[in-house]
Amino acid sequence: MKNEWPLWEVFIRGQHGMSHRHVGSLHAPDAEMAIKNARDVYTRRNEGVSIWVVEAAHIAASSPSDKGPLYEPSNSKVYRHPTFFDIPEDVGAM
């Protein structure tokens, strides 16, 4: 186990103005190599303009068993969903 490289989560921004998206994970000895590996594994077909990597161990995640209390209350409140507006096309991606 000691010889295993840590796991890194990879986020890539596809175009300027868009946000970084999680694309997958990989192993690497350090952050610098993780970015290089991400470049080779996830951007070989010109997918990105920016790469973020973060060690998987540093991500705090919600627990699947908390699903009910965390997300269900918003379902019954239609006024929380901004579906009553027409967004002009010129606005672009939101």
Partner: protein
């Protein structure tokens, strides 16, 4: 007239050297596909190999054009025998272990990046254009191979020992990069390419810096194997590469996808 022919032939030979370096090393590196120590390195090495094969298409494509006998890049890659290849002896050396492969890659990338930098200022616009495109790929190859050499050289006791062994083994193949001949003299005269010897200082500085970071000792010997770029004396390894690389075109002449 004889002079003009001569210059064209020199240009053809010079382009073969560039194209054969990337062809043979690209093939060598591709041998790792599916065999690398970790998945990430496997993909990275395959990318590097593909970059070099892509560069080969440009160099050998132009070589065929310059030769003017209707030979394509594929003809030159698959239908020549050992004695017609003009690559450095370094690039045909076996992969060895992963460390040895990365050391060979670093020693080549360092020279390649400096050479392409000079070729971007070539008097021949076609060469300058290919060099500019290739230099972006090679800048990344160099960054990656240098990092790996430092990581393994300055790593564990075992990885350090393997990298030092690899360096001792490959160092005698460095000298050939800087030896000029009549082909090079012709290229210098025409402003097409630099004198190979003029790259040495920059190479020594770059390689010295990285190997110092890697805590590796540069062998104290100037002995240099020669005969690859002139085609005079390839090592036995090149023939073995060609039997694999050219097998399909030899067995099924003209076969296409």
């Amino acid at each position: 007239m004889a002079d003009k022919l001569n210059k064209n032939d020199a240009l053809f030979q010079f382009l073969l050297r560039l194209g054969d370096n990337t062809l043979v090393l690209g093939h060598r590196v591709s041998e790792w596909c599916g065999h690398s120590p970790v998945l990430e390195e496997d993909i990275a090495l395959a990318n590097t190999a593909l970059d070099m094969i892509g560069q080969t298409q440009f160099w050998l494509g132009l070589a065929g054009e310059v030769e003017g006998k209707g030979r394509t890049a594929d003809n030159l890659a698959f239908l020549r025998d050992v004695w017609d290849f003009r690559n450095l002896l370094l690039v045909e050396q076996p992969n060895g272990d992963f460390g040895q492969t990365m050391m060979r890659q670093f020693l080549f990338d360092a020279w390649h990046s400096i050479m392409l930098g000079r070729l971007m200022k070539s008097s021949d616009q076609r060469i300058a254009d290919i060099a500019e495109k290739a230099s972006k790929e090679v800048a990344y190859h160099l960054e990656r191979s240098a990092d790996t050499v430092v990581g393994l050289g300055d790593g564990t006791e075992e990885s350090h020992a393997k990298m030092q062994t690899a360096l001792d083994l490959l160092w005698p193949y460095i000298g050939e990069m800087f030896v000029g001949d009549e082909v090079d003299a012709e290229m210098v005269k025409a402003g097409v390419a630099p004198d190979p010897a003029s790259l040495r200082d920059e190479y020594d500085a770059l390689v010295g810096r990285v190997l110092a970071d890697a805590t590796l000792a540069i062998p104290d010997s100037k002995f240099a194997h020669k005969g690859g770029k002139t085609g005079m004396r390839h090592s036995e390894h090149l023939g073995h590469i060609l039997t694999q690389m050219q097998w399909l075109q030899r067995a099924y002449p003209g076969a296409t996808w």
